[in-house]
């Protein structure tokens, strides 16, 4: 039980990828645009997503070349997610290119392979129809039914639906046109939820009943594993922005960042953010190496740690900015809302600890 050897720093390819994504986002994903989603203007999302998925070709990172993908790995997806987190980018990368894609990759039918090709090309976008809080398949019975608080559905053209059958859980792909997708006013409008009403019978089987439950589970586990990198990106932005602000803000004639109580809190936060970065990268590495038990352990560790840490970082950012951090105008709240929603998504930290305990005999 001594863990895998994983490269925990960016290698040259990672650094290139990061620079590409960062430059793209710094040009096109300004906080003043992002915040508009809270006032009902989501027009940024399709533009960004088209650029990332099709132009930069990031939607197919996890898809093998034989299915038309980039044949990269979870490591590269983690780099992308760090950058997306750092910009609270409102794109369905996690829900479509990670979760839905991982569900399909478990054991795609012919239709599933076709869909994977479309996803990898950035021509199609999919969402798994479970509440964002889910950690296991919650299969639907055939017939009209509503699933609440689904992430990624608003951006998707294809909905992946786990369906209960006598042979097990199969996953069906339902066209978004055939569903009623009602937007929900969400804590995090940069990953807005929707209530989805549909009849799963309308869809085609993309993962057969003998692999569906495992497929959904591994998709959600990949979601948790890689969301940790998004959380690292959120936390890094919060730390960096706060430190930068406190280096210039003065009160009582002194640089606020020179007050020792704040220095110590920021030192502790730095320490935790560094830890989160290592844990998230390790989880991505384990996923990339495909060791199932190690992936579970690493995912629970990263999810438990990064979920709380990103919230702490965002809360500290708001507090240490003083009044300005409480304003709509300052972007800190975008990160607070993303961090808090992420903490609740794909299993609370306490649930990840509980599952971890079962694996490590605690």
């Amino acid at each position: 039980m001594s863990g895998l050897e994983v490269e925990l720093l960016d290698n040259e390819l990672d650094a290139d990828l990061r620079a590409t994504v960062r430059s793209f986002l710094s040009e096109r994903c300004d906080p003043t645009q992002v915040v508009k989603a809270y006032d009902g203007d989501s027009s940024l999302t399709p533009v960004l997503w088209k650029g990332l998925a099709a132009e930069l070709g990031l939607a197919g990172l996890l898809v093998p070349e034989s299915y038309g993908g980039a044949g990269a790995s979870a490591r590269e997806a983690a780099v992308v997610l760090e950058e997306l987190g750092r910009s609270v980018a409102p794109v369905p990368f996690l829900t479509s290119a990670v979760v839905a894609t991982s569900v399909l990759l478990a054991a795609p039918t012919e239709k599933g392979v076709e869909l994977l090709g479309g996803l990898a090309a950035g021509e199609r976008t999919a969402a798994l129809v479970v509440p964002l809080t889910a950690t296991t398949a919650q299969p639907l019975e055939p017939g009209e039914t509503t699933v609440r608080s689904v992430a990624g559905a608003l951006e998707a053209d294809t909905l992946l639906v786990p369906v209960a059958t006598p042979a097990g859980v199969e996953v069906r792909a339902v066209s978004a046109d055939q569903a009623t997708i009602t937007p929900v006013s969400s804590l995090d409008m940069t990953r807005q939820l929707a209530d989805v009403r549909l009849d799963p019978a309308a869809g085609e089987v993309v993962v057969a009943a003998d692999h569906g439950a495992d497929g959904v589970r591994s998709g959600l586990l990949a979601g948790a594993a890689l969301m940790a990198s998004e959380q690292v990106g959120v936390a890094q932005w919060c730390l960096t922005t706060t430190v930068d602000y406190l280096k210039v803000r003065r009160q009582f004639g002194r640089i606020v960042g020179g007050y020792q109580a704040l220095k110590h809190r920021l030192a502790d936060l730095y320490t935790s953010v560094e830890g989160a970065g290592a844990a998230a990268r390790y989880a991505a590495g384990a996923l990339a190496l495909g060791d199932p038990e190690e992936t579970e352990i690493a995912t629970h560790v990263a999810a438990a740690y990064c979920g709380d840490l990103a919230v702490t970082a965002a809360e500290e950012a708001v507090q240490l900015h003083g009044g300005i951090g409480m304003t709509w105008e300052h972007p800190a709240h975008l990160y607070l809302k993303r961090a808090k929603a992420d903490q609740i998504a794909y299993g609370l930290p306490g649930l990840h600890r509980d599952r971890l305990g079962a694996l490590v005999d605690i």
Partner: protein, 395 residues
């Protein structure tokens, strides 16, 4: 004056001014002139010069009689902060001009103290007032002003002398909010609402007659105002499971499907802390009953901010997918609420609004300094801004 005597006064007044037949505004003016407005104020200024302890009785009697009130919630800053300061530092003319319409709710007040560059460090404020004949010309920007869009007057602190150390160059004014140089802009918060405003002052002209206290005495006058704000702390007794604990405990009870031992233990930790804070408040009130309010109130505020923030965060977690939805009223729409109401709002609103609890009315960092220095007697912070001219302070 005994409670019986004051009860007699009120009954007499009510007999002379029957609630049912007296026009409400006239009723309020009559009550003011009878000295039954704020009884501890001097005669002729809304009071009878009697003990402040008689005020609740008077209020109860009027309320029981169905008398019109002066809409105190709408004019909290006027009644709680402007009035006692005007009484203490105002000229007879100022007292006579401002106190009656203030108390009657005809003139609403707001407070122009904080600035973007002067939050914790209020005395470092930069809004300038320059004397021009018998008027002051004021330029600057104020922030965190609640009720500015409804206000007729403001209490304002501005810098009149940048060449002396910062505490000595301030002056306190009563500012007409209808002056054309006053621009009020809503300040939207992370909840989506605009509970506060920014106020931009451009060549606002204030007659010297509306200066409160001497030129350069502004810091002293402002502190008198702020002390009136702080008297409230450690105030009302709370029932067990009062405040946000009760709200979150109810969330727990109504979401059994999300129960886990870990969430339960965290809630119980906060239950214990809330009960301990409740008892600490009760002890503080017992102490106040036999002595003076001290800086211990700062410790209470620290505690409540921390508990509120952790409770509201936990609430979102234990609600499952519901915790991800913000379905309160109009969602994120920008509205201008008249007052803050935690318990009646959505869990997401509470989580976000509670973040302000450790900033507004003294940040938790400043309060920890106060506790460390004034309660524990530890040394003060190193000051670079005390004995130099304000304009020389780096900013």
């Amino acid at each position: 004056m005994t409670p019986e005597e004051i009860r007699g006064r009120v009954e007499e007044f009510l007999a002379e001014h029957p609630v049912a037949t007296t026009e409400p505004n006239a009723f309020l003016h009559a009550r003011y002139q009878a000295g039954l407005a704020w009884v501890a104020f001097p005669e002729g200024e809304g009071g009878l010069g009697v003990s402040r302890a008689l005020q609740p009785l008077v209020n109860d009697l009027f309320e029981a009689a169905g008398a019109p009130d002066n809409n105190p919630r709408r004019n909290g800053i006027g009644l709680g902060m402007a009035a006692p300061t005007i009484l203490a530092y105002g000229t007879p003319e100022q007292r006579s001009r401002f106190l009656e319409p203030l108390w009657c709710g005809e003139e609403i007040w707001c407070q122009l103290f904080s600035e973007p560059g002067a939050g914790s460090d209020l005395a470092g404020l930069a809004t300038r007032a320059v004397l021009d004949g018998d008027e002051w010309v004021v330029n600057g920007q104020k922030v965190w002003t609640s009720g500015a869009h409804n206000a007729d007057f403001a209490i304002l602190v501005a810098r009149t002398d940048p060449d002396v150390p910062k505490h000595r160059g301030l002056t306190y004014f009563l500012c007409d909010m209808h002056d054309p140089g006053v621009e009020v802009r809503p300040l939207r918060q992370i909840t989506g609402e605009a509970e506060f405003n920014e106020v931009f002052l451009t060549d606002v002209r204030i007659p010297d007659a509306h200066r409160l206290g001497a030129v350069g005495q502004g810091w002293e006058v402002a502190n008198a105002t702020l002390n009136n704000e702080r008297v409230a702390i450690g105030g009302a007794a709370m029932p067990r499971e009062g405040g946000l604990l009760g709200v979150v405990a109810e969330s727990w009870r109504t979401h059994p499907e999300n129960h886990t031992p870990e969430l339960r233990d965290r809630l119980l930790r906060l239950w214990v802390e809330s009960e301990v804070a409740r008892l600490t408040g009760a002890r503080l009130r017992q102490k106040l009953a036999v002595g003076q309010p001290g800086p211990e109130g700062s410790a209470m505020k620290l505690t409540f901010a921390s508990i509120n923030q952790r409770l509201t965060g936990l609430d979102l977690e234990l609600r499952g997918e519901e915790g991800l939805r913000y379905e309160d009223g109009d969602g994120w729409a920008m509205v201008r609420p008249e007052h803050v109401d935690f318990a009646g709002r959505d869990a997401v609103y509470r989580y976000l609004r509670a973040k302000g609890n450790s900033i507004e009315g003294g940040t938790s960092e400043i309060l920890r300094n106060i506790v460390a220095e004034r309660v524990l007697g530890l040394p003060g912070e190193h000051r670079v801004d005390k004995d130099v001219a304000w304009k020389e302070i780096p900013r």
